[in-house]
């Protein structure tokens, strides 16, 4: 480990670690909820919570990688909608299930590749590129369906989202596997290690011989693919496709990733942090539902937690001067 002067030594003070704070918060809220309402700890409710957070989790993981690269992806919600529409329409027309899923994911990868190409090779601000893609992808999804629901999906397809193993939907296991794999890759796989470097200082990374453009493009493709996977799970679980799926999901994903430790200035972000953040938000949401509170407060809570996360960050950075 190289020690940088001026940077706080994270290994020494546990409380400085974002994941620990989030885990503690989750513990506190879980205990409070289980004391307040017996329904919380029922396996049915817990399954409901983890199933509901799967889509958000997948998208937040993709966003974490993009934020790590000093980028941003506003198009994930629209890509989710487009993938949902394309996949379900193909199925409705009688396409084989693997083919429909493959083409659906192909469409999302293409969106990501276009984003990545504009950002990495044409050097256009990711905010604008993905803002454009957000409009275009949502627009195409709308045009394709004329605003109608796509239903009549084959049962075998619905099984992907509705099938259960030990009474827990398959998609929860798949999401967990994705978390573990991504966490390991982020720690050990060279291109993703290099992503930290790219996010911190792209120019220096380029001069060191890191293939900045290629890795950046890969990050955007990955992010879109995660949105595409969320679309597959969502459509198979709800037995339909709709062009408005994923509306506003991009801001939620960004908020979750930032609460989990990512920064808009690039170079930081953690898979575990993001996962815990999504879980925390899902728990709070669930608490509101169980306690018959206004479910509308969830946005307030999310914004509030984001502000707290910002403040903790500022506290951690207090002895470093930025800008």
């Amino acid at each position: 480990m190289i020690k940088f002067p001026g940077l706080p030594d994270k290994s020494k003070s546990l409380l400085n670690d974002r994941s620990v704070i989030l885990a503690l918060l989750i513990l506190v809220i879980s205990i409070a909820l289980s004391l307040l309402t017996p329904a919380f700890l029922s396996s049915r409710n817990l399954t409901f919570v983890v199933t509901g957070m799967t889509y958000d989790l997948l998208m937040a993981l993709g966003m974490t990688v993009v934020l790590l690269l000093w980028g941003i992806d506003l198009s994930v919600g629209s890509v989710l909608g487009l993938t949902a529409v394309v996949t379900t329409m193909l199925l409705q027309d009688g396409a084989a299930i693997p083919l429909a899923i493959g083409l659906g994911l192909g469409v999302s990868a293409l969106c990501g590749a276009i984003n990545g190409f504009f950002v990495a090779y044409l050097k256009i601000a990711p905010f604008i590129v993905t803002l454009g893609m957000m409009s275009v992808a949502r627009g195409i999804a709308t045009v394709l369906t004329s605003g109608y629901f796509v239903s009549g999906l084959p049962d075998a397809y619905k099984a992907i989202g509705q099938g259960r193993l030990f009474n827990v939907p398959y998609m929860v296991y798949i999401a967990l596997v994705a978390v573990v794999i991504l966490a390991l890759l982020l720690r050990n796989w060279r291109p993703l290690r290099e992503a930290f470097y790219i996010g911190t200082n792209p120019e220096a990374a380029r001069l060191t011989g890191i293939r900045v453009a290629m890795i950046t493009m890969g990050g955007y493709i990955f992010c879109s693919l995660m949105a595409g996977s969320a679309a597959i799970f969502m459509t198979s679980r709800l037995s339909m496709g709709f062009f408005q799926f994923g509306l506003g999901a991009e801001l939620k994903a960004i908020a979750a990733a930032v609460i989990g430790g990512a920064s808009l200035r690039g170079g930081t972000g953690s898979v575990i942090g993001t996962t815990l953040a999504v879980f925390l938000l899902a728990l709070i949401n669930n608490g509101f539902v169980l306690l018959k509170g206004s479910p509308n407060a969830q946005n307030v809570i999310m914004g509030g937690i984001l502000v707290v996360a910002i403040m903790i960050d500022a506290y951690r950075r207090r002895d470093r001067d930025e800008n």
Binding site: I124, F127, G139, I310
Partner: protein, 334 residues
């Protein structure tokens, strides 16, 4: 030899044309040209397009975006961004409505609402300054909070039944025979001319270009950047409140669902108008043309038999095209 010389002369002439005008002039001019061409094409196919009543409809539909874009332009010039406008907009519509229903006189209700918008803007700037976080994140947090607050204070149902005098801000206007030229159009025009003039000629307002272009040297030359940003975000919040008040008057109701995705529409318009998200560039004229362009696209699609669903695709594609064009111009000049 002759050819080479001619080529060089031609290149010099090309470069001269590119260099003679500032980047801003080229971008705004290009956008104006695109608007004229687009208008002519649509007009040839749909003769009502440029009729006064239809132009009036375009104005009324995009008035909130146009007013909010004034503040957003200045925010973006300072290298910032303000997502919270999409929260302030319905929030102020609701607040002004609730205050009037509570029996406050109309002017007091409006002033309090404008102040509320300014306070939200100040909070944005405070979070961004104090915790040194990108304004995107600070204003995102406030946007999420306000969206929730809007639902909570209204209980999810629309607020309506405002006093009659309130209609003057969004409904009433001068009867032009066939359509009503609403007073709200003059509110927008006045604000646009004022901010446009100040941003071009007033020393204090022009500091925003300096701060956005190079924050470090702005700070070194003694400008209190943090305090300036408080002013800029307060301005943006206040303008969003103006738009909210107008829309509440226009529909004689306030609903928490107003302004979905409005922030991104406004940013798109401002960027199409030549503002640079990295700061230091942008103009009120450009932003207003950007809003006009988007308004025209939406209007044309609504008028034509083509599915209106194409409008989002076209707006997104226009955004990318205008950026690519701007980049290409910048590179040729460099």
């Amino acid at each position: 030899m002759q050819d080479a010389q001619a080529l060089r002369a031609k290149q010099a002439a090309d470069a001269g044309l590119l260099r003679r005008f500032s980047l801003e002039t080229l971008q705004v001019g290009g956008l104006a040209l695109a608007i004229v061409v687009f208008a002519i094409i649509v007009q040839l196919n749909f003769p009502v397009f440029l009729s006064l009543p239809n132009i009036n409809v375009m104005f009324v539909n995009f008035l909130p975006e146009a007013i909010i874009a004034l503040g957003m332009t200045i925010v973006i010039i300072t290298a910032g961004i303000d997502l919270s406008v999409a929260g302030i907009y319905p929030f102020s519509a609701i607040v002004v409505g609730l205050l009037m229903l509570a029996g406050l006189p109309i002017p007091v209700a409006i002033l309090l609402t404008l102040a509320a918008g300014a306070v939200v803007g100040a909070v944005n700037a405070f979070i961004s300054n104090k915790f040194r976080v990108h304004p995107f994140i600070a204003t995102l947090a406030i946007l999420l909070i306000l969206r929730g607050v809007n639902i909570i204070i209204t209980g999810g149902s629309p607020v309506s039944g405002f006093p009659e005098g309130f209609a003057i801000f969004g409904q009433a206007g001068i009867d032009m025979g066939g359509f009503t030229l609403r007073y709200s159009v003059f509110i927008w025009l006045g604000l646009a001319l004022l901010t446009g003039y100040l941003l071009r000629h007033h020393r204090f307002w022009r500091l925003s270009y300096f701060i956005g272009g190079n924050r470090r040297s702005a700070r070194m030359s003694g400008i209190n950047v943090e305090r300036y940003l408080v002013f800029v975000y307060m301005l943006s919040g206040t303008l969003a409140a103006v738009a909210g008040i107008i829309v509440a008057s226009q529909f004689n109701a306030a609903n928490n669902s107003y302004g979905q995705n409005l922030e991104l529409r406004v940013i798109t318009a401002v960027v199409i108008g030549g503002a640079d998200l990295n700061g230091g560039a942008g103009s009120i004229l450009g932003s207003m043309l950007g809003v006009l362009f988007i308004a025209m696209i939406y209007n044309a699609f609504a008028m034509s038999g083509i599915s209106t669903y194409w409008q989002d695709v076209v707006v997104g594609a226009m955004l990318l095209a205008s950026i690519l064009l701007g980049e290409a111009l910048k590179r040729r000049r460099a």
